[in-house]
């Protein structure tokens, strides 16, 4: 019957389809590149490096910045690391703050370091052109040094791993002990010295974002300054200061960098990769940031809280801004009036801080009692707890509806030239006192801010006065740029001051309560919250999981760094 034939045919077809050919299971994946392909061309190898650049901390999308760990800014809300862990001294090996965008998260930094190591190893072994190798390997080594410098600052000595770990071929040697703090520094310092000679002084626009020789020297100079400062240089070794001074001077002598005249525009997209920018994370379409949404003032006039107000400058920071005559507010003759505290301040104050009465996007910020951004001392909302918001680095031209749409394309500068000038001045002042070079460097920064020079404001100053001026200048110029935390650590003023009084992170935070009506306002300083800083906190604890997994570290006790079973003192 026909039907049977039909069925037979169907069965045959079915069985032949089911009992299939040998290669039936051999399906090639479509989302992989093979090892050979990645390192076969410069174009492909560049893709790998693109990913490495993308691992740099994305600070402009971070909610909490390093300044919120310090006396520069409140945290906005109490559950963030800056308060919950740092200000209350609740830091343990199992629970530690990791810095903005995992800046010093142990395992994530080593993941990024591995990528650098792999790139360096693979490109070196490849058949790619020699000049390509030199340039790109230097870039990868720069980023590796940058990553190491963060964990070195946070933890002290760390295992310096320069090769690609492989548990199959290396056996137990994958367990690397911690290098001492000084060895780690030496590694970073030497690397940057070498790299600075391999990298070009500048790039065309297509390569903006890659490190220059100046970037390598700037990072080197900063690490040397960190190492020379009291925290890491208890013996006051002057050679460390000299090195820091010389390296920063080298950057100045490159002739590549200068200051941008407009202190507001400097941080916005229009001035991306300006003459002042030394090394920056690049932003652009599809890769924008939410910085203004996270850090801007919570209210525009009476309109809803479109920003989270996470930068909340403290009164202590506000007090550091000079008067327009160049004098600090505490100086005699400064003209500071505590009941008109925002009058006649230096130019940078108005470009950095939003205060009661400050204009913002056509409205007026009012933090006074009953105002649209009335100070919230009880931490019941996102509104300012100090009486201030940040103005600096925020683009007032952004439409509030877009604050969280990621269409803000301003770069984040890890380093800019003003810092180089101040670092040079600081180191040189320690070496040779307030020389003309020192004054010139600081004045260059001050005068951009329309401040009179130091001599004009103060006359002659001694080394100690100069130190104070530089520190204040640094705090004001670099606030909200994730510098203050490292500065108060390295200056060793977090826990207690040199005179034994409570350190800057060991005293109550201060805010400004304003009552009354326009023309008849009363300004009252008030304690906003307490801060505690314990001696152990100058270093982060090595995370418990890292110690648990590395017997080589567990064996490390004593030594110059005073470790116990690989852990930092006090933890």
């Amino acid at each position: 019957m026909n039907m049977i034939k039909t069925c037979g045919a169907v069965l045959l077809v079915t069985i032949s389809l089911a009992g299939c050919k040998k290669s039936y299971l051999d399906i090639a994946p479509k989302n992989f590149l093979s090892d050979d392909a990645v390192w076969a061309s410069t174009a492909n190898a560049d893709l790998f490096l693109n990913d490495i650049y993308n691992q740099l901390p994305d600070i402009n999308n971070e909610t909490e910045h390093l300044d919120q760990y310090t006396d520069n800014s409140d945290v906005g809300v109490l559950w963030m690391n800056g308060y919950a862990k740092v200000a209350t001294a609740q830091i343990t090996p199992s629970s530690l703050p990791t810095g903005p965008w995992d800046m010093w998260t142990w395992d994530k930094n080593y993941q990024k370091i591995r990528r650098c190591n792999l790139f360096i190893q693979k490109v070196a072994a490849s058949q790619l052109p020699g000049d390509y190798k030199t340039q790109r390997i230097a870039e990868a080594r720069f980023i590796r040094a940058l990553l190491y410098h963060w964990i070195w600052m946070a933890y002290g000595g760390v295992p310096v791993i320069k090769d690609v770990l492989d548990n199959v071929t290396q056996g137990d040697s994958i367990y690397r002990p911690r290098n001492t703090e000084r060895e780690t520094f030496a590694f970073i310092d030497n690397e940057l010295d070498t790299i600075s000679k391999m990298l070009p002084p500048s790039y065309g626009a297509a390569d903006f974002g890659r490190p220059t020789s100046g970037a390598a020297l700037t990072l080197k100079g900063w690490c040397e300054l960190y190492e020379a400062s009291p925290l890491r240089n208890p013996g006051q070794d002057p050679n460390l200061w000299k090195a820091a001074s010389a390296t920063n001077k080298q950057v100045m002598q490159l002739g590549v960098y200068d200051l941008v005249s407009d202190f507001t525009q400097l941080f916005l997209a229009g001035d991306n990769n300006s003459i002042e920018s030394v090394f920056a994370r690049q932003y652009g379409p599809n890769h924008g940031s939410t910085i203004i949404g996270k850090e801007g003032p919570t209210m525009n006039a009476a309109v809803a809280e479109v920003s989270w107000g996470n930068f909340q400058p403290t009164q202590e920071l506000v007090d550091e801004f000079s008067m327009s005559n160049g004098k600090a507010i505490a100086d005699p003759g400064s003209g500071y009036d505590p009941q008109h505290p925002y009058d006649n301040r230096e130019d940078r104050f108005y470009k950095t801080i939003l205060y009661d009465g400050a204009p913002w996007r056509g409205f007026t910020i009012s933090t006074r009692d009953g105002g649209n951004n009335s100070i919230d001392l009880g931490y019941a909302s996102d509104k300012t707890h100090t009486g201030y918001y940040a103005r600096k680095r925020l683009d007032s031209a952004m439409d509030p509806g877009s604050y969280f749409s990621g269409i803000c394309y301003q770069n984040y500068m890890y380093f800019r030239y003003a810092e180089v000038l101040l670092s040079f001045a600081e180191a040189e002042n320690e070496v040779n006192g307030p020389t003309a070079d020192v004054l010139a460097a600081v004045d260059k920064v001050r005068t951009r801010g329309n401040l009179p020079g130091i001599a004009a404001a103060y006359g002659a100053v001694n080394q100690s006065q100069m130190r104070d001026i530089i520190r204040r200048e640094r705090r004001v110029e670099l606030c909200f740029e994730d510098k203050r935390w490292w500065d108060v650590l390295r200056w060793k003023i977090a826990e207690k001051m040199p005179d034994g009084s409570p350190g800057v992170l060991n005293r109550p935070e201060i805010g400004m309560v304003i009552t009354g009506t326009t023309g008849n306002l009363t300004y009252t300083r008030t304690n906003v919250r307490n801060r505690i800083f314990l001696p152990k906190m100058f270093l982060m604890p090595i995370p418990q999981f890292a110690l648990d997994q590395n017997p080589a570290m567990q064996k490390q006790s004593g030594g110059t760094d005073g470790w116990t079973n690989g852990q930092n003192p006090g933890y």
Binding site: C7, I27, N50
Partner: protein, 1152 residues
């Protein structure tokens, strides 16, 4: 806004159109088949016959022999003396009969099933035939209220209290259909009888000759040597749950399931068969009509049965996919007979079953101030004046100012009450011996607890079974559905864990609902809405655009089975299935509107503001997945004396192809939600796409032997190949063996008359589980777009994947099972009990702890984990009919499964500490600090520092009312006065699947009334609680009323929660036994009360059967150890999830 909440609960024109399109193909195929089949039937209705002087009855028999027709006649009616001559060639039987009966008082009637009844000629008064009978159950007891219908007519009767009925039928050849709720429907061909006895069998009971669906076939329950449980589709069809996977819990022994959410479309249960035996994927394999597919979205009414395969013998045919158990779903087929059209449907109302009560604004203000004081903040958040104002609002005082001092309730102000759940189903079934058909349409509409969350589902099922020749069976089945899911635009339905779509990770609605404090206005009194921290709960739900998923699945199965005439009992079968699955998703996100109030003016001014974006954004994506399955079967079954042999061999291959495309635009200048209308600048246009392919091949066999029906043996196995693995390592073999002994049929049991049947069985074998992902054997580099920016443009990035493991392979399970099953006292007690043990090896574990944290990349997973799992399951059933006609059926089941990790990677820090060692403990055992209670003033010296010898977390500034932890160990293995990770110990059982689960399903029948419910419980499960559910002001959130009433104060030293702070410090919130709850529960999962209208009444209304019922789901929950009012099955520890719903419904079952 409120208007939007009313969605039409009935078919829209659009819906119908969609179903029609879906069914078009089905319809065409069905028609083609029918035409062909009717042609072949037609050819058998002619006869060639030459007879001389033959009595009529003999002539009829001759025609019977030569055609497909069967005759029904009463010899008394035939004129016995009449003999006829006849000579015809290829003539229609009907014409022959016309001629034969032309001069007689007789006529004939063609009945269904090719039966020709010889009847007295019409014209005279139609003589009805009176038939009497009695309907009894298996124990000989009468079945009152049973419906007796003459098939194909509207003629019917009911049995009286003693089971007797009288019905007048048209012909001696009529067919009766006898049905009663709770019994299997019986059909009875009268064949001339006028007095009949009908035995009704209890529905769903393990009958002696019950046929059970098993892997790649069916078998008799008595011949089974494997551990298999079944559930009738009808038992769950009308329960008001939209997702079928929620139907199994508590009803099938061995199934451990929990429903973690109540969200439409995502409220499915996580099902574990005999618990979880692996650290990897523990989901069972789901099979619908023999093909691996999910059943969750099928129309509940289209399910004939569920079968759960549990032991090695049962899952052996599934090879690499069987180790976690298999759930087989069989969909309905047509039943021969006159077309039967029925309607099933219900309408229900859903409300969140358990909602945490939150503080009011007055309580919130007091609690905030208490926290600020305890935190040492110098300033209080709320002044006395403000507190008094909030109190006025809470008290609804006449002079309250609820706009400036609101008392909003995040959850309750926006949760929709009485969300409607509707279900309609139309079913048509019928056929002849040659062809049977089944067709059904289903429609489900489920509103969500937010007005912008809803689901609509359209099901269409058709199946045609054709007996194409005497030896050929052909069938075509199409099960299709369209699921439309709708959300607010703020809900990212494509992101992350579906159970967390409303949680913080996705900026979600429930996160905001818990966060928004009562002092923040959700709605102002004028109906406008406010925001909290730039986030408006109302804006999120109603003003954020929309997200829409439309998923279309078609399950197509075509099969041909051919008996091979040359060997008795041998047949071959080919099955081809093609399952296309298409998704379409559209996400239109708009700027989110909310209002700020300025109370400095009178009246207050309300200013609109937008957040998220300044202009709308659109993302659309489409994908298609096509699964092809080809199966070639050889079946052999024969009996040689006492020896019974069955053999099955199958070749199966599966292939799946996927592709997806997505495109998006931002910066819409106008509000038209089409791709073309968006921004055109760089960075405003995006697109993407990907594709992949999968393949699998398997060769399986099963050989069963039984001797005299008493001694049973079976071997089965599968040689399986999968594309996941390296060439040369793609195939593996998974065999199983089983034995059974039907003791009940032994001679020596004849004296034990109370035993209906009794069987012991045991099995042992290996099965596999596919773990990990594809291509783990390859070294490779991943690629992604949007890496670092250079020159203002993002670039492509490439990164090193984890290392390759060329040896990667399957998980292997060695399973042992021994069970006993039986029935006593003629079904009064049925029972089944099993002990099972499994050893799972080759589990994929990531050996990260054997490399330092500085290693920098994930190690490849290795097949290094070993785990055991063992337990018992029991089921008991009883059925009893009381003298007054009340029948009670009770089925109960109990499952206990406990696993144990035998080999996993652990650090020395945990392995060497007996309190912390994971090896040897259940997978997922929860470790943490052991909380002892609160510090008391006695623990402190006069100056407020802790007394020496009291262990504490270093530098934690604890005070009375803070949590105190046990100092159990230290780095040296001894208590060291410091509370740190070394003090962790076991504090809870695994989270998620309970280790013990049971269900009780009593059913009561009385006349037309039926009542059934499911009482289900679980034990030995620990639920962590955290976040805003227990920690006040977590993430600037609100607080629960429970936290307000029951936190530590000097006056309430034994409170549930510790001291309140503005921000609960880490030393009070850290992971400890204090934040774990024993989540044992007892639930009244569902209840159904039905009434079948009396026959006479129903008939008058033109129906055959009418039953109305009310039902409920999730009606009552008892969790004695949890004070927090979230569901004990919640998969979210902080309550920020989509609550499980309680449903009340009303439904109808109508057969026309």
């Amino acid at each position: 806004m409120q208007k939007k909440e009313q969605h039409c609960a009935f078919f829209s024109g659009y819906a119908l159109l969609k179903i029609l399109l879906l069914m078009k193909l089905t319809f065409i195929l069905t028609v083609v088949f029918c035409i062909q089949v009717s042609a072949s039937v037609h050819s058998q209705t002619v006869v060639s016959l030459t007879v001389k002087k033959m009595p009529l009855n003999k002539v009829f028999l001759e025609i019977e022999r030569r055609t497909k027709y069967r005759f029904l006649f009463n010899n008394d009616l035939l004129p016995g003396e009449r003999k006829v001559d006849l000579s015809v060639k290829d003539e229609e039987v009907t014409r022959v009969l016309d001629r034969l009966l032309s001069n007689t008082p007789l006529s004939y009637k063609l009945l269904e099933g090719d039966v020709i009844a010889i009847t007295p000629r019409a014209g005279a008064v139609q003589q009805k035939i009176k038939v009497t009978g009695r309907v009894t159950n298996e124990k000989g007891e009468p079945v009152p209220g049973a419906t007796v219908i003459e098939k194909g007519t509207k003629n019917g009767a009911s049995t009286d209290n003693d089971g007797y009925f009288i019905i007048n039928v048209d012909s001696a050849g009529s067919v009766l259909e006898i049905s009663s709720i709770g019994f299997e429907t019986q059909t009875l061909a009268l064949g001339g009888q006028t007095q009949v006895n009908v035995l009704l069998k209890i529905a769903g009971k393990g009958k002696l000759d019950e046929v059970v669906v098993i892997g790649y076939g069916t078998t008799k329950k008595t011949s089974l040597t494997a551990a298999v449980s079944t559930l009738k589709g009808g038992d769950v069809a009308q329960k008001p749950v939209a997702d079928l996977s929620n139907s199994l819990v508590g009803r099938v022994p061995g199934v451990i399931a929990d429903q973690g959410s109540g969200e439409p479309g995502l409220d499915g249960s996580r099902i574990r068969i005999r618990g979880s035996s692996t650290t990897g994927n523990a989901d069972p394999l789901l099979v619908v009509d023999g093909i691996p597919r999910s059943f969750a979205q099928l129309d509940p009414n289209s399910i004939e049965s569920f079968t759960v395969l549990k032991d090695a013998a049962a899952v052996a045919p599934y090879g690499l996919a069987g180790a976690n158990g298999v759930i087989l779903v069989t969909t309905k087929k047509g039943k021969s007979g006159a077309p039967s059209l029925s309607y099933n449907g219900y309408m229900g109302y859903q409300n969140a079953a358990r909602i945490p009560a939150m503080v009011n604004s007055y309580q919130y203000a007091l609690l905030q101030n208490e926290g600020a004081k305890n935190s040492g903040l110098p300033n209080m958040p709320f002044s006395d004046n403000n507190i008094a104002e909030y109190k006025k609002t809470v008290d609804k005082a006449a002079d309250a100012d609820p706009d400036r001092y609101p008392n909003s309730r995040g959850l309750r102000d926006v949760l929709r009450r009485n969300a409607v759940l509707t279900y309609h189903n139309l079913e048509l079934s019928g056929g002849t011996d040659k062809i049977r058909y089944y067709a059904a349409l289903g429609y489900t509409s489920q509103q969500g607890q937010f007005a912008t969350t809803w689901l609509k589902k359209y099901n269409a099922d058709t199946r045609v079974d054709v007996k194409a020749t005497n030896t050929t069976n052909v069938s075509l089945a199409l099960n299709g559905y369209v699921v439309d899911q709708h959300y607010a635009g703020k809900v990212d339905q494509t992101a992350g864990d579906p159970n967390d779509m409303y949680g913080a990770a996705n900026g979600g609605i429930m996160y905001q609902a818990f966060r928004t404090p009562p002092t923040s206005p959700i709605y102002y009194s004028n109906g406008l809405w406010g925001s909290y921290i730039g986030r408006s709960l109302v804006g999120y739900i109603y003003n954020s655009g929309y997200a829409f998923n439309e998923n279309t699945q078609l399950l197509t199965t075509f099969s041909i089975e051919q008996q091979l005439p040359f060997v008795k009992g041998l047949s071959v079968k080919g099955v081809v299935s093609y399952d296309p699955y298409n998704t379409f998703s559209k996400i239109w996100r708009t700027p989110i509107l909310s209002y700020s109030a300025d109370f400095s003016t009178t009246p207050a001014t309300y200013t609109p503001g937008y957040t998220e974006f300044s202009q709308p954004q659109l993302n659309e994506s489409v994908s298609q997945n096509k699964a092809f399955t080809y199966q070639g079967y050889i079946n052999y079954h024969n009996t040689f004396g006492q020896h019974d042999v069955t053999f099955l061999g199958v070749v199966e291959s599966r292939n799946q192809k996927y592709w997806g495309l997505g495109a998006g635009r931002t910066a819409y200048p106008i509000n038209i939600d089409e791709l073309d209308q968006g921004g055109v600048a760089a960075g405003q246009i995006s697109n993407g796409g990907s594709s992949s392919e999968q393949a699998q091949v398997g060769y399986l066999y099963r050989l069963s032997y039984s001797y005299a029906g008493r001694y049973l043996a079976e071997v089965a196995g599968r040689y399986d190949g999968h594309y996941y693995f390296a060439p040369g390592k793609q195939y593996a073999f998974f065999p199983a063996f089983s034995l059974g002994w039907n003791i009940g049929q032994e001679r020596f049991m004849r004296n034990a008359a109370f035993v209906d049947r009794l069987k012991v069985r045991t099995s042992y074998g290996e099965s596999g589980n596919l773990a990990g992902g594809a291509y783990q054997y390859l070294t490779g580099y991943g690629i992604y777009g949007n890496a670092a920016v250079f020159n203002g443009n993002p670039t492509t990035g490439v990164y090193e994947n984890s290392q390759a493991n060329p040896n990667i392979t399957w998980e292997r399970a060695k399973k042992f099972d021994i069970g006993v099953e039986g029935s006593l006292w003629r079904g009064l007690l049925t029972f089944e009990a099993d002990y099972f043990h499994e050893r799972r090896s080759n589990m994929l574990v990531t050996p990260n702890v054997i490399v330092p944290a500085e290693y920098g990349i994930g190690l490849p997973q290795v097949n290094g984990g070993v785990m055991s799992n063992q337990g018992i399951e029991l089921s008991l059933g009883t059925s009893h009919t009381f003298h007054n006609g009340i029948r009670i059926d009770v089925n109960g089941n109990f499952t206990y499964a406990q696993n144990k990790l035998l080999q996993v990677y652990e650090t020395n820090a945990t392995y060497n500490n007996p309190n912390r060692r994971q090896t040897g403990r259940a997978n997922g055992t929860q470790f943490g600090l052991k909380a002892l209670g609160y510090f008391t003033t006695n623990d402190f010296t006069a100056n407020g520092s802790l007394k020496p010898g009291i262990a504490s977390i270093p530098d934690a500034p604890v005070q009375p009312g803070d949590l105190k932890y046990a100092d159990l160990s230290g780095p040296a293995g001894k208590p060291d006065g410091i509370i740190d990770d070394n003090d962790q110990t076991v504090i809870g059982r695994p989270n998620g699947s309970p280790q013990m689960i049971f269900g009780l399903t009593p059913t009561i029948f009385y006349k037309g009334i039926d009542l059934n419910f499911l009482l289900q419980g679980a034990a030995q499960v620990t639920l962590p609680v955290g976040g805003s559910l227990v920690h006040p002001f977590d993430q600037q959130g609100s607080a629960t009323e429970l936290a307000y009433t029951d936190h530590w104060t000097p006056a309430n030293p034994n409170a549930l929660y510790p001291r309140i702070y503005s921000n609960q410090p880490d030393y009070d919130t850290r992971w400890s036994s204090w934040w774990l709850r024993n989540a044992a529960y007892l639930k009244l999962r569902n209840l159904e009360l039905g009434y079948s209208f009396p026959n006479a009444l129903v008939r008058r209304w033109g129906m055959q059967r009418l039953r109305a019922y009310i039902a409920g789901q999730n009606l009552w929950t008892w969790t004695p150890h949890m004070k927090e009012t979230i569901d004990p099955e919640a998969r979210s520890s902080n309550g920020q999830y989509y609550f499980q719903q309680r449903v009340f419904s009303f439904g109808l079952n109508v057969t026309f």
